[in-house]
């Protein structure tokens, strides 16, 4: 079947499965009914497996980690966030996290797929082609997945805060997890994301120092800046200087900035047209 379906086709199927999860949960919520967690888990797992396969085909065709253009970066970030949902959701028993992850995964997957220019060219060895820099990029993008999930749990926190403070119960609000649980998971995700992004920076620097040609001016400094802000937020929250609600707002805004600025990472001067997996020899 891999001859018939391209990697993009598999990624479309994954996006459809994520959208199916989103629609199923939305209908349940409209009917004021708690959706079946096992079905949600199943449909998200199916989407995740299909996406993994699509990214594997793309990676095999590219001969490296599939993070060579905006399309691939968004797909990889979505994949990371979804992977984390399978750890965070069951461990912390956060109701509605599956719903919010489905919203995020469906939206980012479809957006990346419907903008052709994001996948028109692919930079060969975007990060210089070395193992260190590929590792650096994969770590950094995985941390983006963590921060993506943090943005989702932050949205959930703010919705719960709004519902209690403004006395808006019922509907979606009645299924949200407790504020304290969301705050705790936010702190843990923030610590995890900061650690991953922090670890990616020295790995990138190792490569940078040995490869003067690699244009690290924008990407490395941008990543370092993002890491610094996230780390400062973590310290402020752990020392109780920053309130949970402000952390939630900051996490959403910062993730939006980080995603919006992903283009700065694509700075290699030698783009080449995309060859999908089905077109590979």
């Amino acid at each position: 079947m891999t001859e018939i379906l391209t990697d993009r086709s598999w990624l479309w199927i994954a996006a459809a499965l994520y959208s199916g999860g989103f629609l199923f949960a939305t209908v349940s919520l409209i009917r004021s009914k708690r959706h079946s967690n096992s079905f949600m888990f199943f449909i998200m797992a199916a989407g995740f497996l299909v996406q993994t396969f699509g990214l594997y085909l793309r990676g095999r065709a590219a001969g490296g980690c599939p993070i060579g253009n905006t399309f691939e970066i968004l797909q990889f970030t979505t994949w990371s966030a979804t992977a984390l949902y399978f750890i965070v959701g069951p461990v912390f028993r956060l109701s509605l996290l599956g719903y919010f992850t489905a919203v995020f995964s469906a939206a980012t997957s479809i957006t990346s797929l419907v903008v052709p220019s994001w996948d028109a060219v692919r930079r060969a060895g975007q990060f210089g082609g070395g193992a260190w820099i590929e590792f650096h990029a994969a770590l950094a993008l995985f941390s983006y997945g963590v921060f993506g999930l943090l943005a989702l749990t932050s949205v959930m926190y703010l919705l719960q805060w709004f519902s209690i403070k403004r006395q808006q119960m019922g509907g979606l609000f009645s299924f949200l997890p407790p504020m304290r649980a969301l705050d705790q998971i936010n702190i843990r995700l923030l610590a995890t994301g900061s650690a991953l992004l922090g670890a990616s920076i020295p790995v990138g620097l190792v490569h940078w120092m040995g490869n003067a040609g690699y244009n690290a001016n924008s990407s490395m400094f941008f990543l370092a800046a993002i890491w610094l802000v996230y780390t400062v937020l973590l310290i402020l929250r752990l020392t109780n200087i920053l309130l949970a609600r402000r952390l939630a707002w900051a996490s959403i805004i910062l993730f939006a900035v980080a995603i919006f600025s992903l283009g700065t990472v694509s700075s290699h001067p030698a783009p080449r047209p995309v060859a999908t997996a089905a077109q590979q020899p």
Partner: protein, 362 residues
């Protein structure tokens, strides 16, 4: 037994056998809060000591093959399977004689049904549709206890076993597939629900009760029933605070220390009869400075209010007064009411199916 003053009386069960005649087969007979006022239910209620003697009396009725007695604060109902109409009729006479209750009065307040209607009634009772507090879940446990008791006494057989086991299954089905149990409908339970929305598990939350009256006690019990551990009681009269604290297994705090120790608590339940505010904006501001990023939840059940309204403006402070809680309880109750017709329809299908199966096997 739970009782909720915010709920309304529900209409009597429909499709009862109107003529009062007794048929053989599966039947139920009894009285409940729909038909009997409290003063009559008090006289009809079987005390724990009397139940074994009554069960023995039922066992002696010729032609009564199986029987389960459901005895709660709101109902005394006898479910049975009789070979003859006379056996079912004997129960009514024996029950009245046993309770020394006038038979003619009982006839006015009793409910009686046979066959599919009796099954429908049992399903509605087990699902909480027939409860004073619509959709409450305690009744299912009570029905299960009554059935287990009957099993232990060997007064159940193939018919009642099947009907009761299916009743438990269908009650769960209705709760899962309708919103009949959604939301809380008592003030205290709504308050506890809100606290859980903020703090999650209450075992690690510290709760201060300001006021030692009946409302405070009810709310404290609601918190304890959901796992709250650390309770402190304060009252303008220290003796009353200490008495309630003893009753609840809590600690007492002198009233004059409330403001200074406010920051130690996550949840503060106020229900004093004080003429003015007991918790001022300045008190709450000072507490929040000490609590830093930890939220504080005020439940103000007092009239006039114990907590200054401006306290609501403090970041990370949540405040609900009596009206707010009553509004949520009423909304939840209305939502449950809206589900009654759908739940009854589901149970009607189930009772028809079950009755068909039982009739076929009889």
């Amino acid at each position: 037994m739970s009782h909720d003053p915010t709920t309304t009386e529900r209409p009597p069960v429909r499709e009862m056998d109107a003529d009062g005649s007794h048929d053989a087969g599966f039947f139920f007979i009894g009285a409940n809060h729909h038909t009997a006022p409290l003063e009559l239910r008090e006289k009809l209620a079987l005390t724990e000591k009397k139940i074994p003697a009554f069960q023995a009396r039922l066992a002696a009725i010729s032609g009564l093959r199986e029987v389960v007695v459901l005895n709660t604060c709101n109902r005394v109902e006898i479910y049975g399977f009789a070979e003859t109409p006379a056996a079912a009729a004997r129960i009514e006479e024996d029950f009245c004689a046993f309770q020394d209750f006038p038979e003619h009065v009982f006839r006015d307040i009793r409910q009686h049904a046979t066959g599919r209607n009796a099954i429908q009634h049992l399903l509605e009772v087990a699902s909480g549709l027939n409860s004073q507090m619509l959709g409450e879940t305690e009744i299912l446990g009570q029905v299960k206890d009554a059935y287990a008791d009957a099993q232990a006494r060997r007064t159940t057989g193939p018919v009642l076993n099947r009907i009761f086991q299916k009743a438990f299954q269908y009650a769960k089905h209705v709760r899962t597939n309708t919103a009949i149990t959604a939301g809380q409908v008592s003030i205290a339970s709504v308050a506890v629900d809100l606290a859980q929305k903020i703090f999650g598990g209450l075992d690690r939350s510290r709760i201060l009760l300001v006021g030692a009256g009946e409302i405070s006690k009810k709310t404290a019990k609601a918190f304890q029933s959901r796992g709250a551990g650390a309770l402190t009681v304060s009252s303008r009269t220290l003796e009353r605070a200490m008495a309630l604290a003893r009753d609840l297994g809590a600690t007492a705090l002198p009233f004059e220390h409330v403001a200074a120790h406010l920051s130690d608590y996550d949840i503060v339940v106020c229900s004093t009869a004080a003429p003015g505010a007991v918790i001022t904006r300045a008190d709450a501001d000072a507490a929040m400075r000490k609590r830093r990023s930890q939220p504080l939840f005020f439940i103000d059940l007092a009239l006039p209010r114990d907590v200054e309204p401006s306290v609501a403006g403090i970041e990370n402070v949540f405040i609900y007064n009596l009206d707010d809680l009553a509004r949520i309880a009423e909304k939840n109750r209305a939502a449950r009411e809206g589900e009654v017709a759908r739940a009854r329809e589901i149970l009607r299908e189930k009772s028809a199916l079950l009755w068909t199966q039982i009739s076929a096997n009889a």
